[in-house]
């Protein structure tokens, strides 16, 4: 009894504060649940709305036809092909350059002020609005390098846009590789290049691939810079990547969403479903690649 007395005194002294902390904790938990519920609800409402509008228009004919002024005959084949062509070129350009830049920054560059400045600048570049890259692309690729308003110019512009994102993601992935990994390689007599190429890079690969594919999804969803550098809206033929006119999915969607007729809103929604599907495929690809590459990694 004597031993219990001080304990209960302690309880009563701390009880009010305990209640308050419990209430605060519950409130915070509630706020977190509410935040995620709000996000999910918004997403669900948007998706349901888009799918309901798109359902009557989504069919094979829509996927395999050129656009048309008559919504019933309209399709998005040129836009899908334009988007895929841009996606491929963007991937081919940004993957090697972005990863090489990240390897330099993490594995080779010394920790000097100039390199820190470089990294800060790359982070800032990732936050520059896409329309600015459009202006740059128009001046450099379309006009100065005389590529004209082509898929190639568009893809290079979008590559510049996502390069900072690819570099940052790759830098983070490389930094996440434990130092013991590098020291182990050196201990076995590896040169720096052998250490990077055979030990660090494979370990960082899942993170790098995720970053690259998510960045490509961003490039594929951009409309603003492409409008500036001369993408067309009504294109009935399949685009040639290095010459000639093109259109892409976001611009096709924008063009249709602008029209007054309800039917165009419907095909606009259908095109949104297609681009969503394309994004999902890309993200799924990122997941699969990640899973495959990290299968053999054990720290």
């Amino acid at each position: 009894m004597a031993a219990l007395a001080p304990a209960s005194r302690t309880d009563s002294r701390f009880e009010p504060a305990l209640m308050r902390r419990k209430v605060t904790g519950t409130l915070f938990y509630g706020a977190c649940v509410a935040a995620i519920a709000l996000l999910l609800l918004t997403l669900i409402v948007l998706l349901v709305d888009v799918f309901v509008r798109a359902a009557p228009w989504l069919d094979l004919q829509f996927l395999t036809s050129p656009p048309s002024s008559r919504p019933a005959r309209a399709g998005i084949l040129p836009a899908i092909v334009g988007t895929l062509e841009i996606g491929i070129i963007v991937g081919v350009v940004t993957f090697p350059i972005g990863v090489a830049a990240a390897i330099y920054l993490v594995e080779y560059a010394s920790d000097s002020w100039i390199n820190r400045l470089l990294q800060t600048n790359i982070s800032n570049l990732a936050g520059v609005p896409s329309i600015i890259y459009g202006i740059l692309g128009l001046a450099v690729f379309v006009r100065a390098l005389a590529m004209g308003p082509t898929i190639l110019a568009a893809a290079l512009t979008l590559s510049l846009l996502i390069l900072p994102v690819v570099i940052i993601a790759s830098v983070e992935a490389l930094k996440a590789v434990p130092h013991a990994q590098r020291e182990g390689a050196y201990a076995l007599g590896a040169s720096r290049w052998q250490m990077v190429s055979r030990s660090v890079l494979p370990a960082a690969a899942p993170g790098i691939m995720t970053g690259v594919i998510l960045a490509m999804a961003r490039a594929i969803g951009e409309a603003a810079p492409l409008i500036l550098i001369g993408a067309f809206t009504f294109v009935t033929f399949l685009p040639n990547p290095i010459s000639g006119q093109y259109t892409v999915l976001p611009i096709q969607i924008y063009g249709w969403a602008n029209r007054p007729q309800d039917d165009f809103q419907g095909i606009s929604a259908a095109a949104i479903v297609v681009i969503l599907a394309l994004m999902l495929i890309l993200n799924a690809l990122a997941l699969i690649v990640r899973a495959r590459l990290s299968r053999h990694i054990q720290w």
Partner: protein
């Protein structure tokens, strides 16, 4: 412990790229399979080439339809991509020779560095061809039963540059309720905005800064449909498609109240907001490129059928006939 080798990484990246490439490569061009409307161009040798068109989003629906039918009539041997970066943006490209035709919802600005002067400097010769009439429509919410008719002065009081920030409907007319006017209007880059400000406010681009602006007219429709005291203006086609959500205001240009209808816009009775809309073909290029001349011929021959299909008003026959003659003379000479 790591067993993945770098070659695996490269191989995977390559596979991903090839997978996407395969999707793109497998696709084949879908032939247009539309009904044969309009008359196919009469020509012996099949035409070929690419005609690039940019400009006004107002003219875009007509040009898109003409482009589609023209390509179909020529078995898709001529490619006609169409874009809309706005009347002004389009003229900048047209006057540097980047595009062959510019869609315009207002006449070219002769003294503007990016437009008339640039065309002159670069030797781009053009003709102005009216292809339809649009009636800028002033709309209010269907629940608005007081503002059935507004004079040009009243519209200027609402949209003018000196208009108050918290303007009340009762400031426009004492018989109107003392509720704030919620103003909506198209973005400053559109020819619609240019035309309205010039006709109503007396100076191009002079307008209130207290209005919600959007480049997408459907946003304006939504805004007015959801607010009893809102007002907006945009192209007639957007009103025609939304008559259940909007009410058109009659406009008094000095000769009494006139509602925008097909007839009053066509006869120019709906003044001053009936406006002609144009295409500007590059005459120099048309002399050398038969497909460009054929396209403009086709446009003029069919514009009244196509423009009414997408919600615009036909050009009077005599105006059209005079234009065809002007076009023939310009290209022939």
């Amino acid at each position: 412990m790591i067993t993945t080798r770098p070659s695996r990484l490269a191989a995977l990246a390559l596979t991903a790229t090839l997978a996407i490439a395969a999707c793109g490569g497998g696709a084949t061009p879908g032939p247009s399979s539309g009904p044969t409307s309009g008359t196919p161009t009469e020509s012996m040798a099949p035409l070929s080439g690419t005609i690039t068109i940019d400009g006004s989003s107002t003219v875009y629906p007509i040009t898109e339809l003409v482009a589609e039918e023209f390509q179909f009539a020529n078995n898709n041997t001529v490619q006609v991509p169409v874009a809309f970066s706005g009347t002004g943006g389009g003229f900048k490209k047209f006057c540097t020779g980047e595009t062959d035709i510019n869609d315009a919802s207002r006449p070219i600005k002769a003294e503007d560095e990016g437009e008339g002067l640039a065309c002159e400097t670069n030797g781009v010769e053009w003709v102005e061809l009216q292809v339809a009439i649009d009636g800028l429509t002033v709309v209010v919410n269907p629940a608005n039963d007081f503002a059935a008719c507004l004079t040009v002065d009243q519209l200027a009081a609402i949209y003018g540059p000196d208009s108050a920030e918290h303007l009340l409907w009762s400031d426009i007319d004492p018989s109107f309720p003392a509720e704030e006017v919620q103003r909506y209007m198209p973005g400053a880059d559109s020819g619609t905005f240019d035309y309205f400000t010039e006709e109503i406010n007396g100076e191009t681009d002079a307008a209130t800064t207290h209005a919600t602006q959007s480049e997408d007219d459907n946003t304006l429709v939504t805004g007015v449909a959801g607010d009893t005291y809102a007002i907006a203006f945009f192209g007639y086609a957007y009103y025609v498609e939304n008559t259940d959500k909007l009410k058109a205001v009659e406009v008094d240009g000095g000769d009494g109240c006139v509602a925008p209808t097909d007839e009053t816009i066509n006869s120019n009775e709906y003044a001053p907001l009936s406006r002609p809309i144009f295409i500007y073909p590059d005459v120099g290029k048309a002399r050398e490129r038969p497909e460009l001349k054929a396209f403009v011929d086709y446009y003029l021959a069919n514009t009244n059928a196509f423009s009414t299909e997408v919600g615009y008003i036909a050009v009077p026959d005599d105006v059209l006939a005079a234009e065809v003659a002007e076009w023939e003379a310009a290209v022939g000479g």
